[in-house]
């Protein structure tokens, strides 16, 4: 299967923020990357005890050329350091985006070291200090990073026990470890600091170190309040846009009037005449840096620009456009006849939507000679480092990216355009520059969740057996494209198209579109053969985990109860992606063409649960966010311009839109934990579409679902 985590950005000419090719050559990935000697690197950490988690050989290469770590060993997934003071520090390339991994990973380490979470600090997403990491996406943190840290911490625990055994000349098996200290049978204790003092111990472990099994967890698997909660509620937490460096200037980019526009002329004289203003023109890039943020509007407006634009399509013609513009190498659709049973066909559309993180993209960039440091909110700090190195033609080890706290991303902050722009301004200004995108810029110059068309042809017998399933997805992507139902010979294909807008990752990726189409169509097929939708799904579901969530959600919902009012509707769905099983039931009311969601019951199972309350919070948040894509969110565009780039025109869910939400979490302690940041978002849209049909007899095949 094609990995669709990083679809190529489809809009030529934007990719490099328009840097002039002569000046900003795209440098190929370096032929060699000179990794510092392991011992040099370890010197940085100082004395104490270090555990390195070695990845299986191929793993570190996974990300392909040019993105490999430089400056830190590449075959290491994480490391854990217990300093001579006893302080425990864990280094991971993962990034906290509000999915609460800072807390859950801390719990994993606390569990194995039998100590309290407050003794542990996590250094995350800093390309100079942490191991290379492909990025925080694809719900891989919990399945991959949590076990690595469990292992690292378990190995450290065994090392501490060995040290204590040696100290006391006692068998290790008689020693216990609790509350940050080792204790022997006579009750004497040695703290971690006492054990590591004056040591310089390093251990590299593989993937098979002994860890505590989920059923014995005492810290992981419990609720732990967010470790930085107090800083957040007091306004002390420093998000990217809150960072201030000495002498820092403020930046603003002068944007073209449309995508793919090129700069014909720019006159910055008037802007430069304002004291404290630096104006930059470099290829198609135009921007200003000001010593005082009050000058930004005036300085940017003082630059006179003329742009050459090219005609482009619009959102009204989008779906036809996607089907008629396959990208190079795209495969043709071949429909098969349906030999037995009743056959139906339908086509579903999904609009582009914007991530709309509450904190728009921001970056603070600082040059010291040819060394660049950029603080920015990104899920892929090492990828952004590569972008910066390429944009400025400097080696990767001259660039440090620090991904500190950000007002979330939902898959929308994988790239570094704001970082590159801030760095360009800082270079011209000779001072650090902070660049905060405006809301309108965030709506326009970031990237979108891919729009798509999904055509389905299917067939089923009267007893409910599905006999044919042909599923063709244009442009939106591959995630969860295959049906989890028991369908022999199903066809599920993705057909890449030339997207008119720049598109990229989004929470759940195409799993939302594919579930919307599939689960709407499952309903249509059930109705076509006159079968009850839940029974029809169960009839075709042989995977016990899929059945379990379906049964859990319908039971809690009391599926099959009579409607209390005629304009009420019930709808359900089930599905699977990224290790998580989901089933969602909704109750809605349709009034004068307006849909109100009254109640959502969602069952979710993703293996062993690490932190139940955080999981519940994440699932609830996904449901709320999913309501936007389901009912209201759609990017509109015309001829290279976004025509609704404001929150007043692009409605995301607010308090009034929040229904009664009930989350049923199935805990499978016998299964490894999977991530849960994404899949819970896919449930509401198809369930609501099915409920609208139930209430109003109208089948809506386009997301967002609009009755009129």
């Amino acid at each position: 299967m094609i990995d669709f985590e990083h679809p190529e950005f489809e809009q030529p000419g934007f990719e490099r923020a328009g840097f002039e090719p002569e000046r900003y050559e795209l440098h190929a990935a370096p032929l060699y990357s000179f990794v510092p000697d392991r011992r040099d690197f370890l010197k940085l950490l100082g004395g104490g005890l270090v555990v390195l988690v070695a990845l299986p050989g191929a793993k570190a290469q996974e990300s392909g050329s040019g993105r490999g770590g430089v400056g830190v060993p590449q075959d290491i997934g994480a490391w854990l350091h217990i300093a001579e003071s006893g302080a425990i520090t864990v280094y991971t390339g993962k990034v906290e985006m509000g999915q609460n991994i800072r807390t859950s990973l801390t719990q994993a380490v606390a569990e194995e070291l039998r100590t309290t979470p407050t003794q542990i600090s996590l250094v995350m997403g800093d390309t100079m200090l942490t191991p290379y990491d492909r990025g925080t996406f694809g719900s891989m943190t919990t399945p991959q990073m949590a076990p690595q840290l469990h292992r690292a911490a378990a190995a450290a625990r065994e090392m501490l026990l060995d040290l204590a055994a040696e100290e006391w000349q006692q068998g290790k098996s008689a020693l216990t470890i609790a509350d940050g200290a080792v204790r022997n049978t006579s009750g004497a204790t040695l703290s971690f600091g006492e054990l590591t003092k004056g040591r310089k111990l390093t251990k590299t472990i593989a993937a098979d170190a002994l860890v505590t099994s989920a059923s014995e967890w005492t810290i992981a698997g419990r609720d732990l309040k967010k470790v930085n909660a107090r800083a957040i509620v007091t306004g002390q937490e420093k998000f990217i846009s809150d960072i201030r460096l000495p002498g820092m200037m403020y930046g603003r980019v002068v944007r073209p009037p449309a995508f793919q526009a090129s700069l014909a002329s720019a006159d910055a004289q008037a802007a430069r005449a304002i004291p404290g203003v630096v104006a930059v023109r470099d290829g198609d890039f135009v921007g200003v840096a000001c010593d005082d943020s009050s000058k930004l509007d005036r300085a940017a407006a003082a630059i006179k620009t003329e742009w050459k634009t090219v005609p482009q399509t619009n959102s009204r013609e989008l779906y036809g456009y996607l089907k008629s513009h396959p990208s190079r190498g795209g495969t043709a659709v071949q429909w098969q006849p349906v030999d037995s049973g009743k056959s139906i066909e339908a086509s579903y559309n999904v609009a582009y939507i914007a991530h709309t993180p509450l904190e728009p993209r921001a970056a603070v960039a600082r040059w010291k000679d040819d060394q660049l440091t950029v603080w920015t909110g990104t899920q892929v700090p090492f990828g952004v480092r590569s972008e910066l190195a390429q944009a400025f033609g400097v080696p990767e080890d001259h660039v440090r990216v620090i991904a500190s706290a950000t007002g979330s991303g939902y898959g929308g902050k994988h790239t570094g355009e704001c970082a590159v722009e801030a760095a360009r301004l800082a270079k011209a200004a000779g001072k650090p520059v902070k660049l905060m995108w405006t809301r309108e810029e965030e709506f326009t110059w970031a990237y979108f969740r891919p729009a798509g068309v999904i055509d389905i042809r299917s067939g089923a017998l009267d007893d409910g057996t599905i006999t044919s399933w042909q599923f063709h997805n244009y442009n939106s992507g591959n995630a969860a494209i295959r049906s989890p139902y028991n369908i022999p010979n199903q066809i599920a294909e993705f057909h890449a198209a030339d997207s008119p807008l720049r598109q990229g990752s989004y929470r759940g990726l195409a799993a939302s579109a594919n579930h919307f189409a599939r689960e709407s169509h499952m309903d249509e097929l059930a109705h076509a053969i006159g079968m009850e939708p839940a029974a029809f799904r169960l009839k075709n579901a042989s995977d016990p985990r899929l059945r379990a969530v379906l049964e859990a959600s319908t039971e809690r919902f009391r599926w099959g109860s009579a409607k209390t009012r005629p304009n009420r509707g019930f709808g359900l769905m089930a599905g699977f992606d990224k290790g998580g099983y989901i089933s969602c039931c909704v109750e809605i009311t349709v009034n004068n063409g307006k849909v109100t969601v009254d109640r959502v019951v969602q069952a979710f199972e993703c293996g062993a649960i690490v932190n139940p309350e955080q999981l519940r919070n994440l699932i609830t948040g996904s449901i709320v966010q999913g309501l936007g894509g389901a009912l209201t969110e759609a990017i509109e565009f015309d001829n290279g311009r976004i025509t609704n780039p404001h929150l007043a025109q692009y409605r995301v869910p607010r308090f009034a839109d929040v229904p009664q939400i009930e989350v049923v979490m199935l805990d499978r302690k016998d299964l490894p934990p999977a991530g849960a940041g994404e899949t819970p978002i896919v449930g509401v849209a198809p369930a609501i579409a099915n409920a609208i049909f139930d209430a109003a007899g109208k089948r809506i095949r386009s997301m967002p679902l609009r009755l009129s």
């Binding site: 846009s241 943020s293 007002g407 979330s408 869910p653």
Partner: protein, 156 residues
């Protein structure tokens, strides 16, 4: 121009038309108040002017003169957090936390006006505050809890 922020006088040199948000953040380094849209649509920039919650991204400095400005940094009194802050922590509201300052300020204003608000009143008072992480149900829970905590404290 003199501004009274969290009980402290600050002198700023600025155009009276300049929006309060940018003065707080860029001149005074009070960055707890957030930028989310600059258009009055998200509530991330909410502060109190006397006791009224306002969108500081739309409020010119001139409108704040002679009034008491309270920001998220000013809620804590002698090391003691405001009940709304306590409740946000107790309920473990936050995901990314970026909306929290504005949410908390709006909720503080509501509780001053209406010590025991009904659910519908909370929803409507906070309707202008966005949480993209979708933590609304927990925010409702936290505001209810804060109301109970505040009233309990009064009766003690």
């Amino acid at each position: 121009m003199d501004l009274d922020i969290n009980g402290v006088r600050h002198s700023v040199q600025s155009d009276p038309e300049r929006r309060l948000l940018y003065v707080l953040r860029d001149e005074l380094d009070l960055t707890g108040t957030k930028y989310g849209c600059g258009e009055g649509q998200c509530g991330a920039c909410t502060v109190l002017l006397d006791d009224a919650p306002i969108r500081s991204c739309l409020t010119p400095l001139s409108a704040a003169l002679g009034k008491k400005i309270t920001t998220i940094e000013g809620l804590e009194r002698k090391g003691k957090l405001h009940p709304v802050q306590e409740a946000f922590m107790d309920v473990d509201v936050m995901q990314c936390g970026y909306c929290n300052s504005g949410m908390i300020m709006s909720a503080v204003a509501l509780l001053q006006r209406k010590p025991v608000p009904a659910e519908a009143e909370i929803r409507s008072a906070l309707q202008g505050n966005l949480c993209r992480c979708g933590t609304y149900p927990r925010i409702l829970e936290a505001v209810h809890l804060a109301a109970r905590m505040a009233n309990g404290a009064q009766h003690d």
